[in-house]
Each structure stands twice: as C-alpha cells, then as structure tokens.
C-alpha cells in the first residue's frame, strides 16, 4: 500500500459524500437547528466536494501508474459524488415541498371542528374534554393539535 499510488482524496471524498447524505436522516434530522436548514450537511458536502476536486486533479496527473484507468475512475467517482449531493438537495428542497396546500384547513379566528377519537388505550376522547379537563389542577388555557404522518 503506497499512498502515492492510491488516489485517497478521491475515495475519502466519495465516502464523505455518502456519510454527509446519510447523516441527515440518521442524526441531523433529530435536532431542529440542523433539521430546519441542513447547514451541517452542506458543510460536510463542501469538504467532500473539495476532496473530490483534488482527487479528480490527481487522477489526471501525468505521474499516475495507470493514466487511462486513473482518469476514468476519478471522473466516475466525482460524477457519483455530485449525483449524491444533487439527490440530497432534491430530496430536501423539492421532495420536502410535495405537501398538499390544505386551503380548507381551519383559519385563525375560526372554531376548530369538534371531534372524538380513541387514544392509545382505546378510550374515546373528545376535543371538548381535552379543552376542559384540568392540567395540574387548573383549567387549560389552550390545546395544541399536532397532526403527524404516523409511525410506519
């Protein structure tokens, strides 16, 4: 193993690109500060892009042991890296916006539609009960309804 023979910036760049992609879904999405704008991932992608660029230049250097193979590999790896970065940007900024407009949702100042639904123990709970049953011995001042997609 000779570091001069291996185009390490290229491969580290590729690994970092993949790690930057995965880390959003496994780590950064857990914290509002790195979720509401994926700046941590963009920092990692920027470092990866620099490494890929160095790797690409190295792949085209005249002193490579297998010049043709080296050029092809470095171009392919760079393209894959760029695609991964593009896929992330697409998933976040385009895919993330594929939500219904919900124009008919209750507006500020309107009464929220009454409902009765089972809780996780199967007990029927009405909105009216949620608004009137006391919190720490006092009548609630409000109810926060959070609609979420589900556990699947």
């Amino acid at each position: 193993m000779n570091l001069r023979r291996i185009n390490w910036p290229l491969w580290v760049g590729l690994l970092l690109t993949v790690a930057a992609f995965m880390s959003f879904f496994f780590i950064f999405v857990r914290f509002p500060i790195t979720r509401d704008f994926p700046w941590a991932n963009f920092v990692l992608f920027a470092i990866a892009a620099v490494l890929l660029f160095i790797g690409l230049r190295r792949g085209f250097a005249p002193d490579r042991p297998h010049p043709t193979r080296s050029k092809i590999v470095s171009v392919l790896v760079t393209v894959v890296g760029v695609l991964v970065i593009g896929l992330f940007a697409f998933a976040y900024f385009v895919g993330g916006r594929m939500l219904p407009a919900s124009k008919g949702a209750p507006q500020v100042g309107q009464r929220a539609p009454e409902f009765t639904l089972p809780d996780s123990t199967g007990k029927q709970v009405s909105l009216n009960e949620l608004m009137t049953s006391p919190i720490n011995g006092k009548a609630p001042r409000g109810v926060l309804l959070i609609f979420y997609r589900g556990y699947w």
Partner: protein
C-alpha cells in the same frame, strides 16, 4: 422524522403545562401502534387515532397516498386553540423537513387569555 417533532413536544411538556397548554397528537395510526410509539419514545401526552382519516379530512390535511401501501395520511400541521376552541395560531409547513418548534408555541401562547 415525526419523532423529531414529538420528542421536542415531550421535552417541553413541563413548560407547556405551566402555561396551561395541552398538546395532543393525531395520526392515522391504530391505537396499538400509538401505544408502542408512546412506550418506545416515552411520550406522555395523548396520541389520538384517526384510522378512517375522518378528522384529518375535516381539517383538510389529507396527504393522499403518502402512507404505507398508498394509504392516505395527515400532512404535518399544528393548530393552537384557545379555551373556547377558537384557532389562535396555525403552522402549515410548506416543507416536510421544517416543523414547528415548542419555543414557537410557547411564544404564541402568550396571546391566549
């Protein structure tokens, strides 16, 4: 992903209770699925089950075909109601990855009587 938001609510539960706000989460999940979620994640606020998508439809929050096997589910949304049941604040995120933070809710809860 949803867990990221619900976890934030659970962490802020004491502060929300202090100002008299009761968080309630609603999804299409069956009660036993919600029970597992609550146990695994330690959620202590109510998780309501709208399996027939009736309430979600009444609130116009259906995300058609976005669930498992093309089932209809709720799009992420938050509503703060006052004690009369009037909507005082809405958050209909335009981006799936961006959600309301508990601090926002605590801030807007100041408008409640």
């Amino acid at each position: 992903m949803c867990n990221s938001e619900l976890r934030g609510i659970e962490k802020s539960l004491a502060r929300l209770s202090e100002v008299g706000i009761r968080p309630v989460a609603i999804s299409v999940d069956a009660p036993d699925v919600s029970r597992n979620l609550a146990q695994n994640q330690g959620y202590t606020f109510p998780l309501l089950s709208d399996q027939n998508v009736e309430v979600i439809r009444r609130y116009d929050l259906v995300h058609a075909g976005a669930g498992e096997n093309g089932h209809d589910i709720a799009r992420p949304a938050e509503f703060l109601l006052d004690s009369t049941g009037t909507v005082r604040w809405i958050n209909l995120t335009e981006n799936y990855w961006i959600r309301a933070r508990p601090e926002q809710v605590l801030e807007v809860s100041k408008v409640l009587k």
